[in-house]
């Protein structure tokens, strides 16, 4: 913005950049111009005409009022937003808009927060000269999240533009013309996009409203509080709308550096899970195989005894598995407790099976760059990342980068439906290594150890060469990002090694899309076996999540998870937890797989019910307060840990509030640096035993978008959406034919001694030798690791 120009709006002199629209300058200056179709993040349609203003340039007035949203400023322009001409034009537009708009505000969910109501009040007339009948438009069913009342639509096309420009899927459109124009899908199909809920906010009238929320409250009954989204490593900023002690709905809170002005449907609708019937309301203890309600005092005593007995004199009998979406304060106190009992066996990386790289890989992995910079990358290589399901809004940033011409390549065990142009290298879990080796080879890298062998055996195809060239050209504007599927991969260490080789050859940054809402924070808090708070290495690391289950402990502390759905290998977990003498579970929800193994259930506060902090992927500490009281006798997690610490006679559990816990940790993190550089030589890691066995069929256990944590799994509307993938078995058509299976066949899945049954469906996006069997969904609890060998047969 070098050549600033000066214009005048309502007599006020404003600086602006050439090419800016009048409305953008006015918005910055706080001068209100009414509008419906204009939206900062969408293209300009200029079809509502509500923003008409009077303008003159060089002393010559424009002959007619001009739309402020579509009129670029010019030096010396003088604009009047409230002159007689402007006001008359605005009143005229308002009158036209209301010709066909129903007078149903009393029964409209938007009433009280409707842009049309507000603008009609501010700029419209006070009666209507039209006595003709109004048109009626038939509604469409857009699915379980978005309710429609299309008669109210004023054709601003914000929702249409959102689909085309932000979501990248054009499902909505404007069909017909004139009075018969209508907004919809034309063929009435459910809108299935992970960001679709944003059109509820965009719609200036009550045509598109939230189905789960509608008719449950009026806008003026709600109070607004701030929050941070608890499902992915972005940490979208939220507004929580409350009535009494209840979260009624969730809206985005603008933060350009994180979520811009959007949130994913997962963040928007997961609050429904808070009110689920299986909230744990009282402490429970198991006696003779049956659950009994008890007092906190009794439950805490039992928990403390159990943990102490399990830990034993050296602490090694105790293991702690903690959700990566726990708050920073919980993670910190939990590790303090476990370490206080002498154990380093604590881990938040619940789905990682390859822990061999723990001491060699980075201690405090993170995104590697600020979130806002992702959209400015010129080349991105994503490894093992179901992008739209894992990181819906980061996917939008990457989509923006792609729109600006960035070369995006992905290496995955399944082809993804993307909303931008990308090169997809789709291969079996074993083949993923070969694909990366192909790119490394195209970059003339040799590597050492195992990686050397992989590169030598690989061929660099034209596609590999092209991807390598894009990364090289982009120089520092390139990033190699590892996702959750990479973390679940049996050779995660080698994937990281190859990522480093590729990044090293191209100046690209390496980044991790860590699991959960607080994966980065969990590292900082020391909730992992290899490091203390602040990333200080432990001389002799404890056991990882995978190791604690492969080598069963005497007792476990489980935090915010369901063993059957949140752990990488549920079958193994069930066995290890089942044999333990004592399992203490802190949880907001009752859960079959938890109740099967636990002895004590302590009810803790969930999202919005506790204060705390999440550290997002770029390392920003985002604090939040508890805005509703936890139900029943549930208590904020950090308080439960504090009391437990005291009961166990451990030092350092006397904080008065969560802010103190946070400050204590912050002091320990003064020197901590998020850093993705490996600490040892990853390239020498041998191939995993899984890999070496050369399985005929690999399970590709993707984690469906609405199965990532206990809260979202209980959000009914999300579970009813088409994106909520149920348990099942998917094969490519060729593989199904090979195995003699046809669609609809019941299939027996056997995995490492575990088994399950499901119905076969086809998915041409799968590479050969792979079967997609989702994890995290009901039905998958009896199976083993997410990415591992399986055998299939007709049941």
């Amino acid at each position: 913005m070098t050549d600033k120009i000066t214009i005048e709006i309502d007599g006020r002199t404003c600086e602006a950049a050439p090419g800016e629209m009048i409305i953008a300058v006015a918005d910055r200056e706080g001068i209100v111009i009414p509008r419906f179709c204009y939206h900062e993040k969408l293209s300009i349609a200029a079809n509502c005409r509500m923003c008409l203003v009077e303008a003159e340039q060089g002393g010559r007035p424009f002959p007619k009022p001009v739309p402020a949203c579509a009129t670029p400023i010019a030096p010396g322009m003088k604009i009047q937003t409230r002159s007689k001409l402007a006001l008359e034009a605005q009143r005229g537009t308002m009158e036209f808009l209301l010709i066909n708009h129903p007078l149903d505000c009393p029964i409209c969910d938007q009433g009280g927060e409707c842009e049309l109501q507000d603008v009609a009040m501010g700029y419209g007339g006070d009666f209507s000269r039209y006595s003709e009948g109004k048109r009626v438009v038939q509604d469409e069913d857009l699915g379980p999240l978005i309710a429609t009342d299309m008669t109210r639509c004023i054709h601003c096309t914000r929702c249409v533009r959102f689909g085309a420009e932000i979501a990248g899927v054009r499902e909505m459109g404007a069909t017909g013309r004139g009075e018969n124009m209508r907004i919809g899908t034309f063929v009435a199909h459910t809108v299935a996009h992970e960001l679709a809920g944003n059109i509820i906010d965009l719609c200036p009238v009550g045509a598109l409203t939230s189905k789960p929320y509608r008719f449950t409250a009026r806008a003026w009954e709600l109070t607004q509080a701030e929050g941070i989204a608890p499902h992915d490593c972005l940490g979208s900023n939220l507004h929580l709308h409350l009535r009494g002690n209840r979260v009624m709905r969730v809206h985005p809170r603008d933060n350009e550096a994180v979520n811009e002005t959007w949130i994913s449907d997962r963040d928007r609708f997961s609050y429904q899970g808070l009110a689920s019937a299986d909230r744990l309301l009282k402490p429970l203890v198991k006696r003779d195989g049956a659950w009994h309600e008890t007092s906190w005092q009794d439950a805490l005593n039992r928990a403390a005894e159990g943990l102490k007995a399990a830990a034993g004199p050296h602490g090694t009998g105790l293991g702690c598995l903690i959700s990566p979406s726990a708050t920073l304060e919980e993670l910190y106190l939990a590790q303090k407790l476990v370490r206080g009992l002498g154990s380093d066996h604590i881990d938040h990386r619940l789905r990682r099976q390859d822990d061999r790289a723990d001491t060699l890989g980075p201690t405090l992995p993170w995104l590697g760059l600020p979130i806002a910079e992702v959209e400015r990358l010129a080349a991105v290589l994503l490894i093992g990342c179901d992008l739209r399901a894992e990181q819906p809004l980061l996917a939008h940033r990457i989509r923006k980068a792609a729109g600006e011409g960035a070369g995006v390549a992905l290496v995955n065990p399944i082809a993804l439906d993307l909303t931008f142009a990308a090169t997809q290298f789709v291969a079996s879990p074993a083949g993923m290594l070969a694909e990366l080796a192909g790119i490394a080879k195209a970059l003339n890298q040799q590597g050492t150890g195992t990686v050397k062998g992989l590169i030598a055996a690989a061929t660099a195809t034209d596609a590999h060469k092209a991807a390598a060239a894009r990364l090289t050209e982009a120089g520092q504007g390139a990033a190699v990002l590892l996702g959750a599927l990479a973390e679940a991969h049996p050779d995660f260490g080698l994937l990281q090694a190859l990522a480093q080789v590729i990044a090293g050859a191209t100046q690209a940054k390496v980044g991790y899309l860590v699991a959960g809402a607080n994966g980065v924070g969990a590292g900082l808090a020391g909730a992992q076996p290899q490091s203390l708070p602040g990333g200080v290495p432990v001389p002799v690391p404890g056991l990882s999540a995978a190791a604690m289950l492969a080598h069963p402990r005497k007792g476990y502390l489980l935090w915010g998870l369901e063993p059957g759905l949140d752990l990488g290998n549920p079958a193994q977990a069930a066995a290890a937890l089942g044999q333990a003498e004592s399992v203490v579970a802190c949880t907001a929800f009752r859960s079959p797989s938890l109740e099967a193994v636990a002895d004590v259930l302590l009810p803790i506060a969930a999202f919005a019910e506790t204060s705390g902090t999440f550290v997002n992927a770029e390392g920003a500490w985002q604090g939040f307060r508890g805005v509703v009281a936890p139900p029943g006798e549930a208590r904020p997690g950090w308080k439960v840990l504090r009391v437990l610490g005291n009961l166990l006679g451990l030092a350092g559990f006397d904080q008065d509030d969560s802010a103190q816990v946070r400050e204590e940790l912050r002091a320990l993190c003064a020197e901590a640096k998020l850093d993705n550089a490996p600490r040892g030589d990853l390239q020498d890691l041998p191939l995993s035993s899984q890999q070496a066995a050369k399985p005929r069929t690999w399970r590709v256990g993707t984690l469906p978008i609405y199965a990532v944590d206990p809260l979202v799994r209980r959000a009914q509307a999300l579970q009813a959406s088409p994106l909520a993938l149920p348990f099942g078995v998917w094969l490519s058509p060729a593989d199904a034919a090979d195995l003699g299976l046809t669609v609809g066949d019941p299939v027996e899945v056997r995995q490492d001694g575990a088994s399950a049954q499901a119905v076969l469906a086809l998915d041409p996006r799968l590479p050969s030798g792979c079967v997609r069997i989702p994890a995290g969904v009901v039905g998958s609890e009896s199976l083993g690791a997410q990415i591992a060998a399986v055998t299939l047969s007709k049941a």
Partner: protein, 181 residues
């Protein structure tokens, strides 16, 4: 850049047809005709051929467009189906339901209204028993009311098939209709 100024083949998740899929759409002749239109535009702007392609498909389908044809065209041109629906539903020259053998389109806009098109409309309704949008029982023609045909100077105007008729009286209209097969 807004989505209306960017080619739909970019930036949207639109499945590009494989060669096999493409060859299963329409007939070789129709594909050749559509391809001839596509060739007039830059490669990424296949969507520019939407209107001529809809004409081609409508002619091949007895004067109207079936949903399947619209979906097939979307696939063929690499567009989201809704974008084809938008075009096909906007223009009055496209019909989305079966029609008669001919289309008699009477202008109902202001010049023609002043010039007597209302009389033509009533005449058609009474004599042939068809309201706007309806087809005669023998399937001979569909009567359509349309907006300004751009022939205002010789109002009232009637479009039959692709031929304009100007200063049309009810009697003249009868003759024209008698002349249709």
């Amino acid at each position: 850049m807004g989505f209306r100024t960017a080619p739909m083949s970019q930036g949207l998740s639109v499945a590009a047809p494989t060669a096999v899929e493409r060859d299963a759409l329409f007939t070789p002749e129709i594909r050749a005709q559509i391809d001839a239109w596509c060739a007039k535009y830059p490669a990424e702007w296949r969507q520019s051929a939407t209107i001529p392609a809809l004409h081609i498909l409508q002619d091949a389908n007895g004067g109207w467009l079936a949903q399947q044809q619209l979906d097939d065209l979307a696939l063929y041109l690499g567009m989201p189906p809704i974008a084809v629906y938008e075009v096909a539903s906007f223009y009055s020259m496209f019909d989305l339901a079966p029609v008669g053998r001919h289309k008699v389109c009477v202008c109902n806009s202001v010049s023609c209204l002043l010039g007597g098109s209302e009389g033509l409309i009533h005449h058609l309704e009474h004599k042939y028993g068809v309201g706007p949008g309806e087809t005669t029982p023998d399937g001979k023609f569909t009567f359509k009311e349309v907006e300004c045909l751009g022939a205002c100077k010789d109002a009232p105007a009637v479009l039959i098939g692709r031929t304009y008729h100007e200063k049309v009286s009810p009697e003249a209209l009868d003759k024209l209709i008698d002349g249709l097969e």
